[in-house]
Symmetry: C2
Subunit: 515 residues, 2 copies
């Protein structure tokens, strides 16, 4: 491998030498000598690996975003960021890689999906797996005890991606978190309000936000007779309820995990329950559930949460759902997940989506998720000092796919530039005049383009406007120059009108602010 | 290492078991048994590595951006992106890592600075080193022959960073490139116009844009008597002219690289030349320089470039400077570099900055650089099909530092949020009323905040406004609720006025649009 690279390098240099000798008109003998050297090198490479063919692709599980995809992405980001800013969030950024040990012990089984960097001497590094652990590290490192921040960035998971279903190894996460010791459930309620605002504004169709609490789950397991050391494994089975029917979930609990039939049935009764504040009230009276202090604490908080959600005017979409589990270890209190009722224009995906909301398996149609994690920051603090946190992760990769599909289905024309005016000419030899005019427009802050050919055809200039959605063309010709005017053409209507150079800027501003 | 991690994992789980048993009020015997197991595990770890102390830091050469830094960054990005959009650019994105072989043979000696990912099975991957090579790969892969695009993203170099001087291993690049077969020098001139616009708008003080051409350099070396195979090494010595005096550069050429004294002196004459179109004209008449076809082609293009720069109104800052070399291999024509005349508020840095413009060593004060690279895309095309490209990279890391220093020096107050109104109360038990009001504001699209405590002190609510620059406070009290009004307080003047609930939104909009 090393040898091959060196030979390739040598071939490149030798090729350059030959090229330069030719362009500098060196003697034929000299050139021939250098060409011979080049051929020899190439033969060497051929002998080493004759079939070597350069592979032109992106790394497995990754993709480029083309301008159209970027335009959609920008629109989605703007909506989401506006919402975060409306709620007074700051933003931070952290490096794409962390010390390996920073990530160690945070993701349970999924740790095997972490990308490690090669040991090239120095620290052992890994690519971030989510934005939550770097956030907790940031808080502990800077001794920050309260902050409301968002962070939009790419994370990395060595998963086996099904890219046709929108799952990638490199994907965006879009997190909003509130850290700080506050009176109960107000920040939690604000996170749900934010999910409600974003999903409504993005116009993704109807949605539902499921809410539960880690303490209610644990309490439910305890009072149903699940042994303490099985809480986690049973929880992860419950987590599958959105992908498989109760019978299969029960079978896994009993047959694979060895839970008693009675315990499973008791769990089955609870996890079928959905409701609002009333359900929390009812469960507080439930003779079994009320035996668990943890469950009672969780249920009281759910009641309080719903009272705030009413004030925030979002109860229409929120449902208290005892089957919501969310696999992630670090949650300690309320958890939630938003699902689309109509799973996209093209509902082919009957698969768990990973390049998606939060940090583990998310059900079909899930577009946001999060919860309270009061212990994570303490894992980084040398004295274990805790900073309570609650947050939400918007599943923007899924939202991107949805928007892309929608744009395609509706054959929407998506502009990839914001150009307002194309400076064109109908006659030859007016390049300099075009450049002069486009400079005037740029000076006035108008978004303008000019073709880079000396003598482009008018038709091709107009065609470019059609293709890229430029609304106006400023056409120059000998006559217009003599008259001190510009022919302003509206691309959509083909209407043309002469505008004096003195008022052109004003006229363009007037017309483009209308649009 | 592996064993240690497993033990740490086991300790975590065991700790959790103990915690839960306690919270579930298990029997003392049971708890004691589990605590004993926990202590045993801890002892095991201690024996393995007693001194192990978790290191709370970011990876070497990287940093977090705090909200204040992010606010500055956002401002700079907005200015730059607006300019790119004004010139009709689209944007693309590529993955943070590429196949290792995509980067192979593109960076010469600097290839050793590339971060590789660990071989975890599958493809060999590396973190991107710049945005230009991924761009060329993208064009070849998608058979794109013309595009005008910008790309802002982080790149990675395993350099020995001097972070105090603003050099990092992870840093932003901010590239604008025009690909396509066009009539000469128009896209090249637009790149310079863009540099001019951005540096002017960012208000970084006076600047200069140096321009040269790779062909003029090569021709100059040829007519000065530099042997063909020494072009590159002599070029890289010339590149040091902005950091050391001519005498030292000459000494390196003659003593270290073995160039003849006469050739060095001839080069010395040329590289001291600076001017505009007139200098290009004069050199076309120069009896030595005119012997090189390459040099003549470069000089004619410089003349043409300056004629377009005049139309673009940027010649005030552009200078044709024969000492500008730029080390990167892939340049084939015009090259340029922008330098600040006053190198920042705090001119401590007398060092080459790497987290900076383009792709190699950049001189003191350099804030942008680029050039024409007509051969790079062809290196990726299976048939070697070339796509001519010209581009510029804005050195935003350096610009960030500059802005940060400026903000600090002028003690500027930088807002990290955009909140317009704080909803506060002077009395207790008004949490619900505050939440109701803030919901009304959010519904109207107003950026508003509320404190998460049930009964915060008015003083601390006002203090928060002072600290974070919130201009207005909407104060609720029993009396205001009775009267159907809100007391609107202007934080700056402390002026307070009662506004009816019905007109509050309108009033806030009026006041904040004024600001």
């Amino acid at each position: 491998m090393e040898g091959k690279t060196q030979i390739q390098e040598a071939i490149k240099i030798q090729g350059e030498v030959v090229r330069r000798m030719k362009s500098e008109k060196a003697s034929k003998e000299q050139i021939d000598k250098e060409v011979a050297k080049l051929l020899e090198l190439k033969a060497q490479l051929g002998g080493d690996d004759g079939k070597h063919q350069f592979v032109l692709k992106t790394a497995k599980g990754t993709r480029d975003y083309n301008p159209k995809q970027m335009a959609i992405r920008e629109k989605v980001f703007n909506t989401i960021i506006s919402c975060f800013k409306r709620h007074g969030a700051e933003t931070i950024d952290t490096p794409v890689f962390e010390l390996k040990e920073t990530l160690t012990g945070k993701y349970g089984e999924d740790s095997k999906l972490i990308y490690d960097l090669k040991d090239q001497g120095g620290e052992l590094l890994s690519l971030r797996y989510d934005l939550t652990v770097p956030f907790a590290r940031y808080l502990a490192m800077n001794k920050i005890t309260n902050i409301k921040r968002y962070h939009i960035a790419k994370v990395y998971r060595r998963d086996n991606p099904a890219m046709t279903r929108g799952r990638y190894r490199e994907f965006y996460q879009c997190d909003f978190d509130i850290a700080g010791q506050y009176d109960g459930m107000v920040p939690d309620a604000e996170c749900l309000r934010i999910v409600h605002e974003i999903l409504s504004e993005l116009d993704l169709g109807d949605f539902r936000i499921k809410v539960n609490d880690r303490r209610i789950l644990d309490g439910m397991f305890a009072v149903s007779g699940v042994p303490d050391d099985m809480f986690r494994t049973i929880c992860s089975t419950v987590d599958k309820l959105d992908k498989m029917p109760w019978e299969d979930v029960k079978r896994e609990m009993v047959n694979e995990k060895g839970l008693s039939e009675e315990a499973a049935d008791q769990i089955g009764k609870y996890v079928s329950m959905q409701g609002g504040m009333d359900l929390a009230e009812r469960l507080l009276q439930d003779h079994k559930m009320s035996q668990s202090k943890q469950a009672c604490a969780g249920l009281s908080d759910i009641k309080l949460l719903f009272s705030y959600l009413q004030l925030f005017q979002v109860t229409d979409k929120v449902v208290f759902d005892l089957s919501l589990a969310r696999g992630l270890d670090y949650y300690t209190g309320v958890i939630y997940e938003a699902v689309l009722s109509q799973p996209g224009v093209q509902s082919s995906s009957n698969e768990v989506q990973n390049g998606s909301p939060a940090d583990e398996c998310i059900s079909v149609g899930s577009v946001a998720g999060g919860g309270r994690y009061d212990g994570l920051v303490g894992m980084f603090d040398p004295n274990g000092k805790k900073v309570p946190c609650v947050g939400v992760s918007i599943g923007i990769e899924r939202i991107f796919s949805f928007m892309e599909q929608k744009a395609e289905a509706l054959a929407l024309k998506i502009r990839t530039t914001e150009v307002q005016v194309m400076v064109a000419s109908a006659q030859k030899n007016l390049m300099e005049e075009r450049l002069k005019l486009v400079t005037e427009l740029w000076n006035a802050g108008i978004k303008a383009e000019v073709m880079y050919k000396r003598n482009p055809k008018l038709l091709s200039q107009l065609q470019h406007c059609e293709d890229s959605g430029i609304p106006l063309v400023a056409i120059l010709g000998e006559q217009e120059l003599k008259d001190g005017v510009v022919k302003l053409r509206v691309v959509a209507t083909r209407e043309e009108v002469d505008i004096s150079r003195a008022t052109l800027i004003e006229e363009i501003r007037r017309r483009t602010s209308e649009a």
